[in-house]
C-alpha cells in the first residue's frame, strides 16, 4: 500500500516530491506517482494545496459493536500517597470531551490504601471514581496495573481511555492497549472530538518538526497517553461518586519482583517533573563552572539539565541529558546556557513553554527556538542574573 494520488487534482507542482522523506514521489508529465518506497508516513498529504494526496484506510474492521462503548476515562496516577498532577489535567480535558459527546466521565485509581486519595478526583469533573485498591498495587508493575485496568475496561466498556505520558503511563499503557487489541497514540498534546464523534489525537512526530492527527476508527477504547503540563487542571465538582471495584485475585499477580524503590531526593535530577529546567552546555568550559547552572536552578527551584557535550565532559551525569538520546522535556521555563542548539538537543526541549537562550554567538541555532534570546557572555550574564534574583529575595 502507498499514498494515493488523484490525477484529476494533481497540478504537477512538485511540492510533494521535495517533502517526501524517503524519495518515493516523482512528478511525471500529468501527475505525481508514488513508488513502492512509500512508507505511508503522510508527510505529503498536508503539503498538497490541491488535496490530491490521501492515505489508504486502515483495514482492521470493527470486531464488535462499537456503540456498546460509552464514556471517557482517565487513568489516575497514584504514587505512594499522592495523585500525580497530570491526572487532574487529564480529567479536566476528559470532562470537556465527555460533555461534547454527552457521555459520563470517570477516573480509575489504582494503588493501595486509597481512601484518602480518591475524593480529590471528584473535584476535577469525574462522575465516577473507580477505585482498585490492592496491596499488590502498592509498587508499580506493568502486569498487575495493566491486567487489573484491562479487567475493569472489559466490564464497563469506556469508549475513550486516557493516561499521562509519564514513565508509568508510557510503560504499562501499551500493554493495556495490546491486551485489549486496540490502537494507542503516544504523547499527545491536543485532543478533540471529530464530527463523526471520533477522538482526534494530535501529537508531535519527527522530534516535533511535524504534528500528526491520529484516529482509531474501528476498535475501542480509543486510547492515548498525553504529555504532562499541556492541559490545564480546572476544578469542576459534580456530585460524583466513588465506587470500589473488586476484581478476581489473579489480575493482581505479576511475574516481576520489585526488589527496591529508590526515590531520588535530589530535585535537580527530576527533569521530567520539573517546571523549570536550567541546562548547561559546553560553553561553560569546565566542571567548576557548572555550579553557575546549579545555582540558577536552585534559586528558581528548578532542575538541572545538560547537553550531550556537557555530559560527555563529565560535568553532569547522563540522566541529566536533554535531547534525542536523553530526555524529552517540556517545562514552563527552559533556559539553555552555553548550548549551541544542535538539532539533537532541540528535539528534546522545543516543546517548552518559555525558552531562554544565553549564548555569545548571535548565530547559534538555539536562538531559532528561543522565545527570549540573550546574546551575552555567560560568565558576565549569569552571575549578574543570579545577583538580581537574590536581590529580590
Amino acid at each position: 500500500m502507498k499514498a494515493l494520488i488523484d490525477p484529476q487534482k494533481c497540478t504537477v507542482c512538485g511540492v510533494c516530491e521535495d517533502v517526501c522523506p524517503v524519495g518515493a514521489i516523482s512528478v511525471g508529465e500529468t501527475a505525481a506517482t508514488v513508488s513502492d518506497e512509500c512508507t505511508l508516513c503522510g508527510m505529503c498529504v498536508d503539503t498538497c494545496e490541491f488535496g490530491a494526496i490521501s492515505l489508504p484506510q486502515v483495514g482492521t474492521g470493527p470486531k464488535d459493536d462499537l456503540s456498546a462503548y460509552r464514556g471517557v476515562w482517565v487513568f489516575a496516577e497514584w504514587r505512594r500517597g499522592t495523585i500525580h498532577r497530570v491526572s487532574y489535567e487529564l480529567l479536566s480535558a476528559a470532562r470537556k470531551l465527555a460533555d461534547k459527546k454527552g457521555v459520563p466521565c470517570a477516573a480509575v485509581l489504582l494503588g493501595s490504601d486509597l481512601d484518602a486519595a480518591a475524593p480529590s478526583l471528584l473535584e476535577y469533573g469525574a462522575d465516577t471514581v473507580y477505585v482498585i485498591d490492592h496491596p499488590n498495587l502498592a509498587d508499580f508493575t506493568d502486569e498487575a496495573y495493566a491486567n487489573s485496568l484491562v479487567a475493569l475496561v472489559r466490564e464497563k466498556r469506556p469508549e475513550i481511555l486516557l493516561a499521562g505520558a509519564t514513565t508509568m503511563g508510557r510503560s504499562f499503557i501499551p500493554r493495556v492497549a495490546a491486551l485489549l487489541q486496540t490502537g494507542l497514540t503516544a504523547d499527545c498534546t491536543d485532543l478533540d472530538i471529530s464530527e463523526e464523534g471520533l477522538l482526534l489525537q494530535t501529537r508531535p512526530a519527527f522530534g516535533g518538526n511535524v504534528m500528526a492527527t491520529i484516529v482509531c476508527p474501528n476498535s475501542r477504547p480509543q486510547m492515548a497517553t498525553v504529555r504532562p503540563r499541556v492541559m490545564r487542571p480546572e476544578k469542576d465538582a459534580r456530585n460524583g461518586r466513588i465506587e470500589k471495584v473488586t476484581l478476581p485475585e489473579e489480575v493482581f499477580q505479576t511475574r516481576v519482583e520489585v526488589l527496591q524503590v529508590i526515590p531520588e531526593e535530589d530535585v535537580t535530577a527530576k527533569l521530567s517533573e520539573a517546571e523549570v529546567i536550567i541546562s548547561g552546555g559546553r560553553g561553560l568550559q569546565k566542571a567548576e563552572n557548572f555550579h553557575l547552572v546549579e545555582e540558577l536552578a536552585q534559586l528558581l527551584k528548578g532542575a538541572v539539565g545538560a547537553s550531550r557535550s556537557a555530559v560527555e565532559e563529565g560535568w553532569a551525569p547522563p540522566s541529566h541529558q536533554v535531547g534525542q538520546t536523553g530526555q524529552t522535556v517540556a517545562p514552563t521555563l527552559y533556559m539553555a546556557v552555553g548550548i549551541s542548539g544542535a538539532i539533537q538537543h532541540i528535539v528534546g526541549m522545543q516543546g517548552s513553554k518559555v525558552i531562554v537562550a544565553v549564548n555569545k554567538d548571535p548565530e547559534a541555532p538555539i536562538f531559532d527556538v528561543a522565545s527570549c534570546g540573550v546574546v551575552a557572555d555567560l560568565f558576565e550574564f549569569v552571575p549578574a542574573f543570579i545577583q538580581r534574583l537574590k536581590r529580590e529575595g
Binding site: 517533502v19 524517503v22 486502515v58 490502537g183 518538526n209 529508590i262 547522563p318 540522566s319
Partner: protein
C-alpha cells in the same frame, strides 16, 4: 542463551526540517541512521554476551535498504541478522509492528531475552517494546539503565522512573527497553566488518512468519493518520540587546510577565 535485538532505521533528524521562510517541510538528501537508542540496545546485548556468552541476533522490520542497518550492527559484533521485509508491512502502526516482530521471534524459537531501544526517534512512541512483550506473553521492564543476569534464568535490572530508580527481577524469557546509560555503542571492528560485508541476510516476508495480509501493515493497524501538518511557529521571540545590566533587568521582567514559577 539466545538474545534478539530489535533495531529500526529512522530518518536522520537533520533531514526533517521546517523551512523558516516557506514554513513547509523540507528534506535535504535522504539519509537514514540507526535509531540511537537501538544502538544502546545492541551494546547492552553485546555486553551481556561478553560476560556470559550468548548468541545475538538483530532484527528489523523495514524496507529492503534497512539491510544497511543490520550490516552496521553485524560489524559491531552481533552474530546474525534477519530482515523482515514485505510490501504488506508498510504503514504499520505500533500494534502491527509488534505483531510482525512477535511472529518473527516465535519463528526463531527459544529466545531468552529481547532488547529494544527506549523509543524510536521518528515516531517517539516507546510502544513497540511493551506491545511486543505482551503479544509474546513475557514480562518486560522499560527505561532500563543497568542490567545483569541473576542466576541462570533471571534478569536483574535498574530502571529509571520519574521519581527515581527501581530494581526489578524478571524471570526469563523477558524483554527490556534501554536508555543510553547501559553503555556507549562500541565501534565496528575490522574483523566483524569483513564478516558483515560477506554475510547473507535472510529476508522474511509475511508467509515466512506465518501472518496473513490483513494482520500486518496498514491493514493490521488500529490507528490511522488523518492529518500531518507543521507545528505553529513561535512568533513571539524577543532578543535582548544592550549592556549586561540591561539584559539582566529585561530578562527578569520577561520571566515575571511570563509568570514563570519560582520567581
Amino acid at each position: 542463551m539466545k538474545i534478539v535485538v530489535c533495531i529500526k532505521q529512522v530518518p536522520d533528524a537533520k533531514n526533517v526540517r521546517i523551512d523558516p521562510n516557506t514554513h513547509t517541510l523540507v528534506r535535504q538528501g535522504v539519509e537514514s541512521i540507526i535509531n540511537p537508542f537501538d544502538l544502546f540496545a545492541v551494546e547492552a546485548a553485546l555486553r551481556l554476551k561478553d560476560r556470559h556468552g550468548a548468541h545475538v541476533t538483530a532484527i528489523t522490520m523495514g524496507p529492503p535498504q534497512a539491510e544497511e542497518a543490520l550490516r552496521d550492527v553485524l560489524s559491531r559484533g552481533v552474530d546474525d541478522a534477519v530482515l523482515l521485509s514485505d510490501r504488506a508491512f508498510a504503514g504499520a502502526d505500533t500494534w502491527a509492528t509488534a505483531t510482525a516482530l512477535a511472529a518473527a521471534v516465535r519463528k526463531m524459537g527459544d529466545v531468552s531475552l529481547i532488547f529494544c531501544g527506549k523509543q524510536a526517534i521518528d515516531g517517539d512512541t516507546a510502544q513497540v517494546g511493551p506491545e511486543l512483550a505482551t503479544i509474546l506473553d513475557i514480562p518486560y521492564a522499560t527505561f532500563v539503565k543497568e542490567l545483569n543476569l541473576d542466576g541462570p534464568d533471571h534478569l536483574k535490572v535498574v530502571r529509571r522512573t520519574d521519581e527515581g530508580t527501581e530494581v526489578w527481577r524478571l524471570p526469563l524469557p523477558a524483554l527490556v527497553t534501554v536508555l543510553r546509560e547501559v553503555g556507549d555503542p562500541r565501534v565496528p571492528s575490522l574483523k566483524h566488518k569483513m564478516r558483515a560485508k560477506k554475510a547473507t541476510l535472510p529476508v522474511w516476508g509475511i508467509q515466512d512468519v506465518g501472518l496473513d495480509q490483513d494482520r500486518v501493515g496498514l491493514s493490521g493497524s488500529y490507528t490511522q493518520v488523518v492529518k500531518v501538518f507543521s507545528p505553529p511557529r513561535r512568533a513571539d521571540r524577543v532578543m535582548l540587546q544592550g549592556p549586561v545590566e540591561d539584559q539582566v533587568e529585561q530578562l527578569y521582567r520577561y520571566l515575571k510577565e511570563a509568570k514563570v514559577p519560582g520567581l
